[in-house]
């Protein structure tokens, strides 16, 4: 430090760096204008004193309102599904350290108020440990929505599917024409996230081509090395080489379908070596018997019957797979992780939910974690990510809210909720 300027610059930098990047609080734009000015601790305390009774009253009102809302749902089919009906279980709460056992960034597709959008108007890159939004990306014109997202294992490469208009769930035919159109092709973009600068770059993948609406894209999964993209086309699976654009196709010759109806996460999953691809296959019969099969993608294309049947339901104890849920293969290929359900056949149809690991070799149950019990039909659990061995998973759990689910890390049968996860129906690590 020779000059005065150098000494000043160094002192200022050191002082500034007392504030770390991770400690920046979120922006709250809707908070009211304060009369108490910034830094006025005395007036802040004064206001807090005045507001405490109001806050207490508001809390009581909120509890009463929530109780009424919950009791209101009991008049319908979900009457017995609430906490009052004996909801119990779920893994005990874990510590924040669990959040560091999973990839540090994820991408979620989020929307405005249009609940029937099966995707999002924007993609947000968020920090797993804090939920902070690190980058926000919108589909370039003329595309209006991202519909699927999947990530590579490097935690910075994601693939986004985009369509021109909103895909709409069945039953929303009355929606405006601009949001009703599900008849446009799907195109693919690569999202490259740079953590050091918190920036994201979007590149259109011309080699991936387009998926026509008639092909019914029902899910996709990026291989761990980011070079290949698997597409679920309901009656077939395509694996596209993103460098050359070449593709292999395997068709399902029987009845039923491949994949699931828009689960909260990825419908296909890869082993770490990028060779095996796990997928759901539903029989299409009255009982909708589901299976998980594992396809060797290094083999020539052809029939999906060449894939190995890994797990089939129902298992012993009437345990089955139900609803729009994911099933993931652990990257080491040893296990299939699935959210399973056991429902009694007699009223009030008590339901047990759990995250179950199956041996990929024998199809038998290895262990069950995170059990929930409801007095009737309950909400869904889901599995969103697994560690290489399946020992740590990210799941969404029906805990903490009267309705809806909470994503969190399940490790050692302890559940740690992820902070500030947005309302989304597509998320990827």
């Amino acid at each position: 430090m020779n000059t005065l300027e150098d000494r000043l610059t160094a002192a200022l930098r050191e002082t500034g760096e007392e504030i770390s990047r991770d400690s920046v609080p979120p922006l709250v734009l809707d908070r009211p204008r304060r009369r108490a000015r910034a830094g006025d601790g005395a007036s802040r305390r004064r206001w807090m004193t005045r507001l405490t009774p109001l806050a207490a009253a508001a809390a009581v009102a909120a509890v009463v309102t929530a109780s009424l809302a919950i009791s209101g749902t009991f008049h319908g089919r979900l009457r017995a599904a609430g906490p009052a009906a004996g909801r119990s279980g779920g893994a005990p709460a874990g510590g924040p350290g669990a959040l560091r056992q999973v990839p540090p960034y994820y991408v979620s597709l989020t929307s405005g108020s249009n609940a029937y959008i099966l995707g999002g108007q924007r993609a947000e890159v968020r920090a797993t440990t804090t939920g902070a939004v690190l980058a926000t990306i919108r589909p370039p014109r003329p595309f209006g929505a991202f519909t699927w997202v999947s990530g590579a294992s490097d935690d910075r490469t994601f693939i986004l599917a985009a369509q021109r208009y909103w895909p709409v769930a069945p039953g929303n035919q009355g929606a405006k024409a601009t949001i009703r159109d599900n008849g446009t092709p799907t195109v693919f973009f690569r999202l490259s996230f740079t953590a050091s600068t918190r920036t994201a770059r979007l590149t259109e993948l011309a080699t991936a081509g387009q998926v026509k609406p008639s092909q019914q894209l029902a899910g996709m999964a990026l291989s761990p090395d980011g070079t290949r993209l698997a597409l679920d086309l309901r009656r077939s699976i395509q694996v596209v080489n993103l460098a050359s654009g070449t593709r292999r196709t395997w068709r399902w010759p029987g009845g039923g379908w491949v994949g699931n109806f828009k689960p909260y996460g990825q419908v296909l999953s890869w082993t770490a070596d990028g060779r095996m691809l796990a997928f759901q296959q539903w029989s299409g019969k009255f009982d909708n018997t589901p299976h998980v099969r594992v396809l060797d993608t290094t083999a020539p294309g052809g029939s999906l019957l060449a894939s190995k049947l890994a797990v089939t339901w129902p298992q012993s104890g009437a345990q089955t797979l139900d609803g729009p849920v994911n099933t993931l293969i652990a990257p080491d290929g040893s296990k299939i992780v699935a959210p399973t359900m056991t429902q009694a056949r007699k009223a009030p149809y008590p339901t047990a939910l759990q995250i179950t690991e199956f041996s990929a070799r024998t199809g038998k149950i290895v262990r069950s974690l995170d059990p929930f019990r409801f007095g009737g039909p309950g909400p869904y659990q889901n599995v969103l990510w697994t560690s290489p061995s399946g020992a740590t998973v990210i799941v969404s759990d029906p805990r903490g809210k009267a309705q809806g689910t909470v994503p969190g890390v399940l490790s050692g049968n302890r559940f740690t909720a992820l902070p500030r996860v947005p309302q989304t129906n597509q998320i990827a690590w």
Partner: protein, 189 residues
Amino acid sequence: MESNPRGSAAAFAMAEHAAPGGYDAVCAEEAVTRLYEAHALGLIRLAHIMLGDRSSAEDVVQEAFCGLYRRWSHLADPASAVHYVRSSVLNGCRSVLRRGNARRALALTGYQPPESSAESVALTGEERREVTRALRRLPQRQREALVLRFYLDLSAEDAATTMGISPSSVRSAITRGLASLGRMLQESS
């Protein structure tokens, strides 16, 4: 080590790039949020340097962005939003200091010495304390000019825009501020 205290130009450019369609296509909330993501760290650090108090610094920056959000529709040029919010932060710091919190805010807080030898720790900490203490004894205009010039690395023209004075006044304030700072440091040593 965060090497670029401005933390802004590249991030801001990329944030714009990350949203095809740019400012015209996004609503005020998203634009301000994106601006916050790109600049909050640098501005909180700036306010922290000016105030010496972290929570006050965060409040000032929050208020500045809330003000920007409220006035977004009146902003003639969205590209000037960074200058606007930086000026707001400086104004907010002045208000905090003016209201008699200066003595409390100027207290040095929370410094964690680097892991090194005891001697260098003592020297480094003392050096920084001396410089910071001297800086905070300067008149407001000189202090702001020095921080904008030597922390944010702004040109005299950009600092003038932020401070709402002429570039020549900024240069003059820097010259006088450095001279006073040198005298104070010499006296203390």
